[in-house]
Amino acid sequence: MLDPYVPILVMLGVAIFVAIFVITVSRVLGPQRPTRRKLMPYESGMEPIGPAQRRFPVKFNLVAMLFILFDIEVIFLFPYALIYKDLGVPGLIAMGTFFIVLIIGMIYEWKRGALTWD
């Protein structure tokens, strides 16, 4: 019964192997001549500014909330999509009200100005 998962297991094994292999090989074979510039944290090629862990603006969180909202909505949509023909119009109404309530949430967040970036 778990046969379909054997390829995934194999892939998992390959992934772990490759990761460990690459790191070990570069550690063993690669020349190690550290300089101050090489040891600096990589920040897209520019001089690092300030500590890496600092407070982020809260607007990211609002976008993340919206993401969760629609993520969960999609999860509920999947089982519905598989049986919508059997459900007919009443099912469409039930799914529609679920959808509309969440859309109202998005309209609210949008109009309230929570998604404007500055």
Binding site: G50, F56, I68, F76, P79, L87
Partner: protein, 188 residues
């Protein structure tokens, strides 16, 4: 074979859950929590509840963990090393946890579980959809309202947070640039 896989997944869950609790670095605790979510998803697959497993990965690993990481990044990091409060004695917590575990393990162990090969009403996506539209129609609709209220709450609190905006990285860069410019001009 199934038992071996189960033991592997279960030890993964327990180990990562313990690491969530004992990690001192909060970001590491969050990452171990994500590992726990993942392993629980694997457990659902083992139970042949594929859809729940996929949903677990999509919602918890994909979305909830992102929100947790954002929440960590939104908090004031510089206060991290000096906790303002002290936790109570650890042995009280340990005794409580062991007591709860003992009660739960003995109760769960005592029950002769009804094992079934039939599909449970929620194990596969079509059955889940049917259950959502019939037995759980009201909870299904309620879930939408709960999500809506959570969104309103997040907006109410975050908009207030935005009004008293704390300096961000961009502000820091601008401030440093400004300082450098002033230094070049020779003005203090």
């Amino acid at each position: 074979m199934v038992t071996v896989i189960f033991i592997a997944i279960a030890s993964l869950i327990i180990a990562s859950a313990v690491l969530v609790v004992i990690s001192r670095e909060i970001v590491r605790a969050a990452l171990w929590l994500i590992a726990t979510f993942f392993a629980v998803g694997a457990l659902y697959l083992l139970l042949e509840a594929e859809f729940i497993g996929v949903a677990q990965v999509l919602v918890y690993v994909g979305a909830v963990s992102i929100l947790i990481l954002f929440a960590i990044m939104l908090t004031r990091q510089h206060e991290r090393h000096e906790p303002a409060w002290r936790a109570g004695p650890w042995w009280i917590a340990l005794a409580g946890v062991i007591g709860l575990a003992a009660v739960l393990i003995t109760t769960i162990g005592a029950v002769p579980w009804r094992l079934t090969d039939d599909d449970l009403p929620v194990s596969r996506a079509p059955q889940l959809g049917t259950a959502l539209m019939r037995e759980y129609l009201l909870p299904f609709q309620l879930a939408a309202i709960v999500l809506l209220v959570a969104l309103i709450g997040a907006v109410v609190i975050a908009m207030e947070e935005r009004r008293r905006r704390t300096p961000t990285l961009a502000d820091d860069i601008a401030a440093q640039r400004g300082a450098a410019d002033r230094a070049e001009d020779g003005t203090p």
